[in-house]
């Protein structure tokens, strides 16, 4: 292994800006005739194993305003906790999705399957979760967080266990709003600020 001093340094981030959709979700920007379709339109294909779920939410800035320009990417395991490309993974689960806050309401919708628990190193087991990466104007480096599910057993999750202020765990919980439907709001700053991750 190289010593720290031999390491190159990661290229610095810059904000995705207000027009991120042109590059990442061109049809959202109104640009429909460059590519046949946007990449990452759905994390699953028809026939994917697992429970279908719909997660709705908003990204709120520090004033409580639901941002209209956020772009979010999600990454998750299949129903058995395997990521795409790992042996035995469900070939109908790409696990990756891109979605934007609606330009009028600020709401996003993620339609997927509920992931399984994921095994980590040293016997660690992570409760079912979906990783999110949030970019927008004013966000200088993409923000990482996770959606966990309030109706799963999260008691032994190693990441949640590291949150010292226990009420903040709730900021990572999708709350059930009906059969297969959840609400997950993201607060960038202030009261109820979401736990953001450095992993």
């Amino acid at each position: 292994m190289l010593h720290q001093s031999d390491r190159l340094i990661e290229t610095p981030s810059q904000t995705a800006g207000p027009y991120v959709h042109i590059g990442c979700i061109p049809s959202f920007a109104g640009l429909k005739d460059v590519y046949p379709e946007d990449l990452g339109r759905s994390p699953i294909e028809p026939g994917a194993r697992g429970t279908r779920i719909t997660i709705t939410g908003s990204v709120y800035d520090g004033t409580g305003w639901a941002m209209r320009d956020a772009m979010i990417e999600s990454w998750q395991a299949d129903a058995e906790g395997r990521f795409a490309g790992q042996s035995g993974a469900d070939p109908l689960v790409s696990g990756f999705c891109r979605f934007a806050a609606d330009k009028d309401s600020g709401e996003f919708i993620l339609r997927t399957i509920k992931p399984g628990a994921v095994a980590g190193r040293d016997g660690m087991v992570f409760a079912p979760h979906i990783a999110l990466w949030i970019v927008a104007r004013g966000i200088n480096i993409g923000l990482s967080t996770r959606i966990y599910f309030e109706d799963e057993d999260n008691s032994a999750d190693p990441l949640l266990a590291r949150i010292e202020q226990r009420p903040r765990v709730q900021t990572l919980m999708a709350t059930a709003t009906g059969a297969g439907t959840y609400r997950f709001d993201i607060r960038l700053q202030g009261e109820g600020e979401t736990v953001f991750l450095d992993l």
Binding site: P12, Q14, G81, K103, I141, L188, L199
Partner: protein, 252 residues
Amino acid sequence: MPPPDAPAEPQYDAAALMPRRHDMHPRPYDPDYKTSVTRAPRLPLLSMQATPTEETGPRFGHDRIGPLDNDLIRNHAQGDALAIGERIRVFGRVIDETGRAVPHTLVEIWQANAGGRYRHIKDTYFAPLDPNFGGCGRTLTDETGHYEFMTIRPGAYPWPNRANDWRPMHIHFSIFGHAFGQRLISQMYFQGDPLIDLCPIAATIKDRGQLDRLVAPLDMQNARGMDYLAYRFDIVLRGRRQTMFENRPEGL
């Protein structure tokens, strides 16, 4: 037999990600970039060693990429007409912090046209749209991490921040790497642009050496006479520790 709901064993111990050096990135909260004031978390990030979720990531196959996707001069052309502007080739390598190439990874770009106008429903700047310029491109790096785009040099444009702030000429870059934890969005600037030093967004990066890495030098060796100028922009993603399982696939 494991219990039926036991999670799958991890299969890619390959890929322990090195921690991100946040001091080498822009400051999230920077009052001179006003929008960041309400959009930067106030509380510390929760740090821990990366997990399989960050060490795996999506892969995109060559079948998803069209032959003109990396040619912004032609990929939105109406008929035979080409995009207006100074023709440039933008190319470079994607490597990681250990110096290894990142092959077959998706690089996406977006930019304003030569007049500084974006083709986006929310851009209302009065510089005209170019009917033959869309402003997005994408490509996969090759075996050795190289990528390349043909495009036009984007115009600088004013933006609402202080009374008269202008963005230097820039191209937005989105890079995946092979792990979701390597995900990066940044911007490429152009050597010699006087607006770089006046830009509050560029100035969110406090280490001048780091900012300079976003300024692509003019590369006449790789330009072509009577055709295009060339700018070289190399990208370094977070490193992954080397292990013996390195060749295992980590994603589609």
